[in-house]
């Protein structure tokens, strides 16, 4: 199978529970990440992907704990580096479905450079950024998506910097699928994740995922989040207009285009080593 062919929805032989491991999550009760986990299992079941054909790769953070909670292959790497880890795996094993589980700190701060280049390379990955505008795991510091006036111990009165807009950044960097969901809207994210996994290029799904412990006010997202009410566009100018006009709380697929073809597709071996070595003989 090459990297452009995607799983089709087949008959249902896998149930969501088949993707759940017996490892108990460390997440706080009510954490938004539970919703992402449940939605991912439903999406994988609906795509009928055998768990052993799926690899969930992550960095470090509460959100990045997801791999061990799945019955898929998993790789819980180091902070910020999930995308290159996943890229290597996908390039070496194109037939696997590779999903990246990340947070706003992991993907956009320490992993910001990798984020740009993963978008640019447009390798067939599904990157879920569970955005709670805070560092949950390290107990409540501002992240790159935190508002400038959000008060915390490390930045009393607020960090004072403008947040970045992950989806607009992804568009500029070259991602071919850009969507936003809300962890409190399970059906919505199941749909986004199915489309993202089926998309044969780099698919970014930002999921607004409240940190109930350090940002309890995010519980109000339930009332504030709204559907963007747009169909996916393949026009980057239109997508940019949508993303810049947006309040950051709307959900939907904002942009989807044909992915860029891989520059160096895996080729079958054409020479053996002895032929290569012969060039060294005098």
């Amino acid at each position: 199978m090459n990297s452009m062919s995607k799983p089709e929805i087949l008959h249902f032989s896998h149930a969501a529970k088949d993707y759940k491991s017996d490892v108990k999550p460390i997440w706080c009760p009510g954490c938004g990440h539970f919703g992402v986990q449940a939605a991912l299992f439903r999406a994988l079941a609906q795509l009928n992907l055998p768990p052993e054909q799926v690899a969930v790769v992550s960095g470090i953070g509460c959100s990045s704990r997801l791999p061990a909670y799945t019955e898929c292959y998993g790789f819980h790497g180091i902070h910020g580096r999930a995308l290159p880890l996943a890229t290597g795996l996908k390039l070496a094993r194109p037939e696997l479905t590779v999903i990246v589980a990340s947070g706003d700190g992991d993907a956009l701060s320490i992993g910001g450079n990798h984020f740009l280049h993963a978008c640019r390379r447009d390798v067939d990955l599904t990157c879920i950024v569970m955005d709670n505008a805070v560092y949950g795991m390290t107990k409540g510091q501002p992240s790159p998506t935190t508002a400038p006036d959000w008060h915390s111990k490390i930045a009393p009165g607020g960090p004072g910097f403008n947040p970045l807009q992950p989806l607009a950044v992804a568009l500029a960097a070259g991602a071919s699928f850009i969507a936003r969901g809300f962890s409190g809207d399970p059906n919505g994210i199941v749909h986004l994740l199915i489309e993202a996994i089926r998309h044969p290029g780099f698919a970014l799904v930002q999921v607004l995922s409240p940190c109930v412990t350090y940002r309890p006010e995010e519980k109000a997202w339930k009332q504030q989040v709204h559907a963007a009410g747009v169909e996916p566009t393949a026009d980057p100018v239109e997508a940019a207009r949508r993303l810049f006009a947006d309040d950051g709380l709307s959900t939907g697929i904002f942009y989807q285009r044909q992915p860029s073809p891989p520059t160096a597709p895996l080729r079958p071996a054409s020479r053996d080593l002895t032929a290569i070595e012969a060039a060294f003989a005098l």
Binding site: V56, I78, G88
Partner: protein, 575 residues
């Protein structure tokens, strides 16, 4: 003038010229021609900091036996011009028995070179080249060198035509340029240093250490590489890219070294043996990820081609100063493999071995090459044909619960490969229990630390862990490219009646104290030789091995190579 040398001594030639003059090309062609005619040899290039152009120096040393270092002096300096030649004075030691051949049109040699007392033979190389259609001074110079060395013109013509005809040079004109040089050099007959006769002209290979390392990687089974460009490792990557594609693999240019190593780790986790190559600054960026490879027990190889440090340091020059970071740069208790090739051609064996060990022991292996080894070109005997089998122990499919980090007698636990049903696990940098579930319990931490240490300690590395030459009550302990001058000095000491045992450590980590103790039985005195300012290798030896009390140290930072005479001088103090 008759030179006071034995007719079997190696001959050292330096060819110097400004960018575009073709000094490096000429040096490479000379080495190749001599190799085809049956000699052994080595060429190191030295260039200034300019990106393109600037001055360039080719240092060629030819001999009848394998050599792995430059000598104490040069027999001949051939200068195509003198632009910025002062820069190279330290690299080309001349004396009254040396000869300088230079184009008088290029002006006077720098005073520092004249001060050596080497006689100057003026030859109008540029003007001679003008007399031949498409004539180039560096090809004329090769004709001069052929006469001086008594090297048959035929192999020279073959390699010159093969290399340059592609670039549009006509074979007839190239041959003519060589002949013009050959005839013009009739005047140098009095200074000639004919190459010693070749005894056995068996099959020969010509390759750089970076090529050898890359080939060793391919032989070891590497099929994925991710690299961020850095001197002097980039040419390794550039050689590897098309070859990896030819054997069904791939090389990706990553956005930085952290990404490069993570990509390699991802591929290896996926079951495809993977590598990255870098130099000091890149290795520094990789250390956190190396710790992940240790904890998650994933094979991966980092070829680190050392250059002068710290920081950006001296990017184009050699130094052995990344030893400490390679050994100790990882946080936590993180046992891993560190290996170092002992010559240009040994880059092949050592890298292949590193891949096999990494795959067998499921941990990262750092190969410490350096700019000298990586970018020097050497004539060598072809390595034995390859017969390596895949080394990774993978988990057989079974219905039992799969424990990724199971505690086994060897410490190695069979690895599951994504795609295989029933063995799904999460590779984790978090401490874990045998199943792979994160655990911060003391017992699990202790057990996994023990396991990761013991799998390295229980492995039998065999005699390849070090390269040993000679016997004696004096031992020279060295590693990496410093082994070259040590080998040569030890042989000379032997010839002078001083019995010396030269030991070059190839497997630096895990340390092999019992094996070294065996080698040091009867040894009273140890000379440590290394190319680092802070005596990193001596510190390593003191930390891990029992040494005799009588120790001398020869440690010299880059960029100048350690010369055999400096080693010999240390040894002679014990006479």
């Amino acid at each position: 003038m008759s030179a006071p040398f034995s007719s079997t001594d190696p001959i050292a030639i330096a060819i110097m010229g400004s960018g575009g003059a073709g000094a490096i090309t000429a040096g490479g062609l000379l080495l190749e021609a001599a190799g085809r005619a049956g000699w052994q040899g080595l060429m190191t290039r030295s260039v200034g900091p300019q990106i393109r152009g600037g001055e360039a120096l080719a240092m060629v040393r030819l001999a009848t036996a394998p050599i792995s270092a430059h000598g104490d002096r040069f027999d001949l300096l051939l200068a195509l011009d003198w632009e910025n030649a002062e820069r190279f004075v330290g690299e080309v030691p001349l004396d009254a028995n040396s000869l300088i051949i230079a184009d008088p049109a290029a002006g006077e040699p720098p005073a520092a070179l004249r001060a050596s007392g080497a006689p100057l033979l003026p030859l109008p190389l540029a003007q001679l080249a003008k007399g031949v259609p498409e004539g180039r001074a560096n090809i004329v110079a090769l004709g001069v060198l052929a006469r001086w060395l008594a090297l048959p013109l035929e192999p020279l013509e073959t390699v010159v035509v093969r290399a340059l005809a592609r670039k549009g040079g006509s074979a007839a004109h190239l041959g003519q340029a060589l002949a013009v040089g050959y005839d013009a050099a009739a005047g140098c007959n009095g200074f000639r240093r004919p190459l010693p006769p070749v005894l056995d002209a068996g099959a020969r290979w010509l390759l750089t250490g970076n090529e050898a390392a890359a080939l060793g990687a391919l032989r070891g089974g590497i099929r994925f590489a991710a690299i961020y460009p850095i001197t002097p490792a980039t040419d390794l990557a550039e050689w590897l890219t098309p070859r990896l594609q030819q054997v069904g693999g791939q090389l990706i240019q990553a956005e930085d070294e952290i990404a490069a190593l993570n990509m390699a780790l991802g591929a290896s986790y996926g079951g495809v043996p993977a590598l990255t190559a870098t130099s000091g600054p890149g290795l520094a960026l990789m250390t956190e990820t190396l710790g992940l490879a240790v904890a998650a027990e994933i094979p991966v190889v980092v070829v680190n081609v050392m250059r002068g440090g710290p920081s950006t340091g001296i990017p184009t020059k050699s130094e052995q100063s990344d030893l400490n970071i390679a050994l100790y740069g990882l946080h936590g208790d993180a046992p891993h493999l560190v290996l170092a090739p002992t010559s240009v051609s040994d880059c092949l064996f050592t890298t292949q071995w590193a891949v096999q060990l990494a795959e067998t022991l499921q941990c990262p292996a750092i190969v410490l090459s350096d700019q000298f080894l990586g970018q020097s070109q050497a004539v060598c005997e072809p390595p034995p044909a390859d017969s390596a089998a895949p080394a990774r122990v993978t988990a057989p499919v079974s219905s039992e619960r799969y424990d990724r980090y199971a505690l086994t007698a060897s410490g190695v636990s069979p690895m599951a490969i994504p795609g295989r049903p029933g063995q799904q696990y999460t590779a984790d940098g978090l401490e874990h229990n045998p199943h792979g579930t994160p655990s911060s319990g003391a017992a699990d931490h202790q057990a996994q630390l023990d396991k990761r240490r013991d799998k390295l300690l229980r492995h039998d590395y065999g005699a390849a862990w070090a390269e040993v030459e000679g016997e004696g009550e004096i031992a020279v302990l060295t590693w990496g490219s410093a082994a070259g001058p040590v080998r040569e000095a030890a042989a000379r000491a032997q010839a002078q009646g001083l019995a010396v045992k030269a030991i070059a450590v190839r497997l630096l980590a895990p340390a092999q104290p019992a094996r070294l103790a065996t080698l040091l039985v009867g040894v009273q005195r140890v000379l440590v030789v290394e190319q680092s300012h802070s005596q990193q290798f001596l510190g390593y030896l003191r930390a891990h091995y029992l040494l005799p009390t009588d120790i001398r140290i020869l440690n010299q930072p880059g960029p100048l190579p350690i010369r055999p005479a400096a080693v010999l001088a240390q040894l002679s103090q014990w006479k």
